[in-house]
Amino acid sequence: MNKTEIFKVSEITQKIKQTLELNFFSIQIEGEISNYRPSSAGHVYFTLKDNDASIQAVMFNNKASQLNFTPKDGMQVLVSGNISVYAARGNYQIICNSMEEFGVGRILAMLEERKQRLQRLGHFDKKREIPKNPSRIAVITSPTGAAVQDIINIATRRSLGIEIKVLPAIVQGAEAAKTVVSQIRYANKHKLADVIIIARGGGSVEDLLPFSEEIVVNEIYNSEIPTISAIGHEIDFALSDFAADLRAPTPSAAAELVTEESDNLVLQIKQFKQEIINSLETKINNARLILNSISTKEMLRNYNLLIAEKRQTIDITRDKILSTYTNLLKSKRQNLNLAFNIIEANCPQNILKKGYAIISDEKGKTIKASGDTKLGAIINIQLKEGKLKSEIKEII
């Protein structure tokens, strides 16, 4: 090519057209659909893009009508066709003859490759502790989705005095990654929260792709504020999960993770309260047990037993006294009888009964010896029956 050659616009365009169309004939391109605009004639116009570049694409109605799926923004596709230059506008585009959905397997392989690369860059190494009881949470998600509702419901129910700031983001399609990045950056710039939750409800592998975009991973990695990635369901994964400080299996789980502490507080108070109630109850029950063991009934029974015992002692003692007394009386009576017998035996009357007589002088004085009287004296003789008067005739 001669450097000094001067082209007309149409000439150079023609040359470019030839170069491109000859060299890029029947090629295949993989990329993400964006700016998808079907025309009324049935042709479909869209942009194919990846992280760093984009290319215009068109599929005319004769081919588009044969598609077995409806293309939409954010979808990863593989198109085959020819590059063509549209001279009037000076742009180039691919005219697609066929288009197929980029298989899930291939998407996963691509993600795996990206994951390895980002891991090597150390983007998954920053794991900080999530604040235990954050008072401000920023939630980057769709303001109209189920995820934001789940988070608000759970966090406000479990937490106390929590401040939730919803930072709206598009969570699907070509613009999603950009808005997520922008909100992470904004939250950091204005220090809007203690924790950022990046959330999205479940969806297809393609739906979740924005959260695996390199720009999102980078922004999470650079975030000063600790982040929780809560994308899709338990089984889903996005590279944001690896970059964030913590991965939550679901948006609801993320809300639970950041409110755990305050929830515990309520539980703790309840527990202490219950313990105090239980302790006092135990003490009262113990006291009652002791009281019951010495109940009035029991006391009365014991008292009666005691009384009965005393009564018995009294009875026994009385009997003892009585019998002793009786014995004493008996023995006295015996003694008395004995004495009586002796007295009786010695009674003069009884002596007289045996034929003895009592002799006394005239004055009644008993004569016990012959010297007590004299001859001629008159003596009285007392017999058992009757009396005699006699004269002493001789003293022997």
Partner: protein, 73 residues
Amino acid sequence: MKDFDKKLKRLQEISEIIKDNDVELEDASKLFEEGISLAQGLEKQLDNLENKVEILITNSDSDEDPEFTDFNN
């Protein structure tokens, strides 16, 4: 929350003391009264902490200071 933490600590203390078998019933019932009123106060304090849910209305691409409005569920 400083006062709250202090009260919570006292509540915990009471629940430990009252568990002790050596505590006289009379003292226990005084501790009980104190503990229950503490717990109720703390629960009320927690109930009164209001949650706030807002949504950012400023464009995050802009240099404006953030502005929020109530997020209406």
